[in-house]
């Protein structure tokens, strides 16, 4: 093949990942007892698409797994076999294996061949299990299906006609491996091997496998356009649905791969993923061109009489007597072949991955994150430049330069709008994260023998993409924790008078510039006594007088576990301390609430974005600092009487009846030339982690939106400093790490001045 496929790999990776994700979502949603045919079809389509594209791109291992998966799903889809829990499980595992293989092809993961093989065998076993009962009970298929076509796969002979593209040497090797491959399905006989390139091969096979299975196998060696699978007339059972679904069941020998036959009336119920003639459900599918035919005459099959080569872009003639009801839909498709043909071609020859979600994503484009980040950086620079201009213009005479001032005001508005819309590009709904939890909960609850219902609230809440990526692991740990430690076993729940099924609630919402994510369970709650006992055992400084909040914080200490026994689940490595660390690193906070017997709720607060911050600039001596506005409660000029001293040092301020510790910024940062007299400076009341403190500074300068720059990129972490930003005059200002400062004030009161 002359085209370098590797340039399309990225597209394949993304699409395959999407298909896998939708497959998993479907599997989790499906009810095995009464599967929705639509869902089963969607599942089949996802598997089929992955198989098609992985085959095209030469990812043989993925193709093999999906092939078997597809075969199994296909039988369920056609009602030949009931969907069982076992199948759902196996399919989920297959999905995992595929994800792993996909990761391996991307170069991110190590391919787990053993797992791939294991799942292949498991799926094959399931498929075989389907055959056995089907043969015992002749009128098969639990659903009352009139089609003879769904009869159990008895042994049948098929003639395979195809051409192998490429060099003769490669072609004969390909043929040999194909024969090997086919032998696993039944007895293979080479009727005619190609001598010249372009000669047609002719194999005869006696097998139980469906022609579509055969077609699927041959497809990877043969030139797909030349492939024909024909039942050998003498022993031919009804032809099953063909792999590419362009002809539906006909009781006659299909003699051209490109014949687009009209379905026979009694077969109209067969739903086809890419069916040209499909029933109503499928009419909405991207490849469904014809809707249900209301009065299907047993019309003569519309045969494409031309040979395969010429029909690569199959023209099909309009029907002799077009059906009445959907002529609008039918005719354009039929009469203007080039357009649909172009669309059909990929599906027919499977050269391009099928795109079942065609209609849904027409309104979006794929852009690499780097491009967006670059744009955000540039906009950040623009904001700084705009601020510089505004500052420079503040000295000019507003009367003389009225137009300049107006222009700058306009620029400021536009810049802000631009910034907002650029930032919104990076925003993603949190459902991206939440969607993985049904699976986590399902697997884990089975393992632990607990009954759990997962509720998610506020899935549309948006947050920055980088946060979405980084919150996934900590959140997964919290959910696992709730499941493992929080929720009780059904017996205990019954004993406690609670419904046996526990509930885990995941909710997300915005609150004052933060995104709040809560993980709640209605389990037993944290055991205060046990935590305290454990803490004492570990020699931590604890007392029984500690508030609940303080006790709960203990479980976030490194190496702290109250689990009575270490289970597979709780021994996974990431502890609450790591969760806390990760969340702090994102600029977030974590809080715990718990009530014995009622449940536990863990609240994670994160900034909406990591890149921009509303800040208040304050001056201390010659320096300017930025306080993130979210922490600022109020500011005031302290009066003499408000300051209270403890052991001779004035370290507390009384604000509306509350005593707050005072942090003198100039002392903490050792800044010379700052105001030291209380009444001349300003107190800013800060609140972080539910604790308040007053920060003593010289003056308030203003309020800005600042672009957060990393100090650590070229320097190191500085205690009390969260980052840096560039001010309007081009100078750097440091952003205060308020929670650390507040903590500092609480824990180690600075030495007396």
């Amino acid at each position: 093949m002359a085209i370098d496929m590797s340039q399309f790999y990225q597209v394949f990776f993304e699409e395959a990942a999407e298909h896998l994700a939708s497959m998993e979502a479907l599997l989790l949603a499906i009810n095995p007892a009464a599967p929705d045919p639509e869902e089963v079809n969607a599942l089949f389509r996802a598997a089929h698409s992955i198989k098609g594209s992985s085959g095209t791109f030469g990812f043989q291992d993925m193709m093999e797994v999906t092939h078997i998966l597809e075969t199994m799903l296909d039988r369920v889809r056609k009602g030949e076999a009931p969907l069982t829990d076992d199948m759902v499980d196996a399919s989920l595992v297959a999905g995992d294996v595929l994800k792993n293989l996909l990761g391996a092809h991307r170069g991110e993961d190590e391919a787990d061949r053993a797992a791939a093989e294991a799942i292949c065998h498991r799926l094959e076993a399931l498929c075989r299990a389907l055959d056995t009962p089907a043969e015992v009970v002749p009128p098969p298929a639990p659903t009352a299906n009139p089609e003879p076509a769904t009869a159990p796969a008895a042994e049948a002979s098929f003639d395979l006609h195809f051409r192998i593209s490429g060099e003769p040497a490669a072609a004969s090797a390909g043929l040999a491996s194909l024969v090997d491959e086919l032998s696993s399905f039944g007895r293979v006989e080479t009727v005619a091997a190609p001598r010249e390139p372009g000669d047609e091969c002719h194999l005869r096979i006696v097998t139980e496998a469906s022609p579509e299975t055969l077609a699927g196998v041959v497809d990877f060696v043969a030139d797909a356009a030349s492939l024909r699978v024909e039942p050998v007339a003498a022993t031919a059972p009804p032809v099953e649905e063909e792999a590419y679904g362009f002809f539906t069941e006909l009781q006659q020998v299909v003699d051209d791969a490109y014949g687009f036959f009209e379905p026979l009336p009694e077969l109209a119920a067969v739903s086809e993923p890419y069916g040209l003639f499909s029933n109503v459900e499928v009419a909405v599918e991207p490849y469904g061109f014809f809707t249900d035919l209301p009065l299907p005459e047993p019309a003569p099959p519309l045969v494409l009489a031309t040979p395969a080569e010429e029909t690569a872009y199959g023209l099909f003639e309009p029907m002799a007597s077009p059906p009445q009801s959907p002529p609008a839909a039918a005719e354009p498709a039929a009469l203007q072949p080039p357009a649909p043909a172009a669309e059909l071609a990929p599906a027919v020859v499977k050269k391009a991955p099928a795109k079942p979600a065609g209609a849904g994503d027409s309104g979006s484009i794929r852009v690499s994150v780097e491009k967006v980040d670059q744009m955000i950086n540039l906009v950040g620079e623009l904001v700084i430049t705009q601020a510089m201009l505004t500052q420079a213009a503040s000295n000019v005479d507003p009367v003389v330069f009225e137009r300049l001032i107006n222009g700058l005001a306009q620029l400021e508005r536009n810049t802000r709008d631009l910034q907002e819309s650029v930032m919104s590009i990076r925003m993603m709904p949190i459902s991206v994260v939440f969607s993985r939890f049904p699976r986590v909960v399902r697997d884990l609850s089975q393992k632990l023998g607990k009954q759990v219902e997962l509720k998610t609230i506020g899935e549309t809440t948006e947050m920055d993409k980088s946060l979405v990526e980084r919150i996934t692991d900590p959140l997964t740990h919290l959910v696992r924790n709730s499941l493992d430690h929080g929720l009780e076993t059904p017996e205990r729940r019954r004993a406690a008078g609670k419904p046996e099924t526990g509930t885990i609630t995941l909710s997300a919402y915005h609150q004052s510039g933060n995104i709040v994510i809560e993980v709640g369970d209605d389990g037993a709650g944290l055991n205060r006594a046990r935590i305290l006992a454990k803490a004492k055992e570990r020699g931590m400084a604890v007392s029984d007088a500690m508030s609940d909040q303080e006790v709960w914080q203990l479980i976030m200490e490194p190496g702290f576990s109250t689990a009575e026994q270490v289970t597979e689940v709780s021994g996974r490595g990431v502890g609450m301390d790591v969760v806390k660390k990760n969340i702090s690193a994102m600029g977030g906070r974590i809080e715990l609430e718990s009530m014995t017997g009622v449940g536990t709720r863990i609240t994670v607060r994160l900034p909406l974005t990591l890149a921009i911050l509303d800040g208040m600039s304050v001056g201390v001596g010659p320096e300017t600092y930025i306080i993130p506005l979210g922490y600022v409660m109020e500011s005031m000029q302290p009066e003499r009487g408000m300051m209270k001293s403890v052991s001779g040092v004035e370290r507390l301020i009384q604000v509306r009846g509350e005593y707050l510790p005072v942090i003198c910024l100039h002392e903490v940062f050792h800044i010379g030339g700052a105001i030291t007299e209380w009444s001349k400076g300003i107190m800013v009341v800060l609140e972080a982690d539910g604790q308040s403190a007053a920060l003593f500074i010289d003056q308030l300068i203003g309020q800005h939106q600042v672009v957060i720059k990393s100090l650590e990129a070229n320097y190191r972490r500085v205690p009390g400093i969260a980052g840096a930003t560039i001010m309007g005059d081009g100078r750097v200002a440091l952003i205060l790490d308020v929670p650390v400062l507040v903590d500092m004030a609480r824990r180690v009161l600075p030495a007396a001045a």
């Binding site: 320096e623 100090l711 990129a713 320097y715 190191r716 560039i726 440091l734």
Partner: protein, 167 residues
């Protein structure tokens, strides 16, 4: 990556006897030389934002076209010359393994090339600088150049420019 290439390049030039390009600068009366491939640019000394509780030789950070860059005063670190800041004070911006650091020196002299044999090993002697960061002493006629392994120096814990954990 770039760093690796540079290191290999330096090694090759040392082994095969190719001359190496060095940027020389003065601190007080002493002349120092560093690998020119580590130099990103040379600029004047700007207003610097001080960092709280940093060692005295870390002057603070500047805004270098949107990047926050720490500035080190080598004169203070090496205890040579007088640390005064005039419009002629020069900052050499270094790019060391992707990290950008500025260092204040008294003056930048020129770019010279030294063959490996012109760089003599430095004898052990007591100084404010660990001799581990001195690659050797370059002889250029009457002049003695102190060839500094600037990468090692800047990434050392002594300079306090990098998180301890990152090392």
């Amino acid at each position: 990556m770039l760093q690796a290439i540079q290191t290999t390049a330096a090694l090759e030039s040392e082994e095969s006897g190719f001359a190496q390009e060095l940027l020389t600068f003065t601190l007080g009366a002493e002349e120092y030389a560093i690998d020119i491939l580590k130099v990103q640019e040379i600029r004047g000394y700007d207003a610097v934002t001080t960092i709280a509780n940093a060692p005295s030789f870390i002057k603070g950070v500047i805004n270098l076209r949107g990047t926050i860059v720490p500035i080190v005063d080598l004169r203070i670190k090496f205890s040579v010359g007088v640390a005064e800041y005039t419009p002629f004070t020069v900052v050499i911006i270094l790019n060391i393994g992707g990290r950008v650091v500025g260092m204040v020196v008294d003056a930048v002299s020129d770019v010279i090339s030294l063959k490996p044999e012109q760089i003599r090993p430095a004898p052990d002697f007591a100084s404010s600088v660990d001799t581990a960061y001195i690659r050797g002493l370059g002889a250029l006629g009457e002049r003695m150049l102190i060839v500094v392994d600037i990468e090692r120096l800047m990434l050392s814990s002594e300079m306090a420019l990098v998180d301890e954990a990152a090392q």
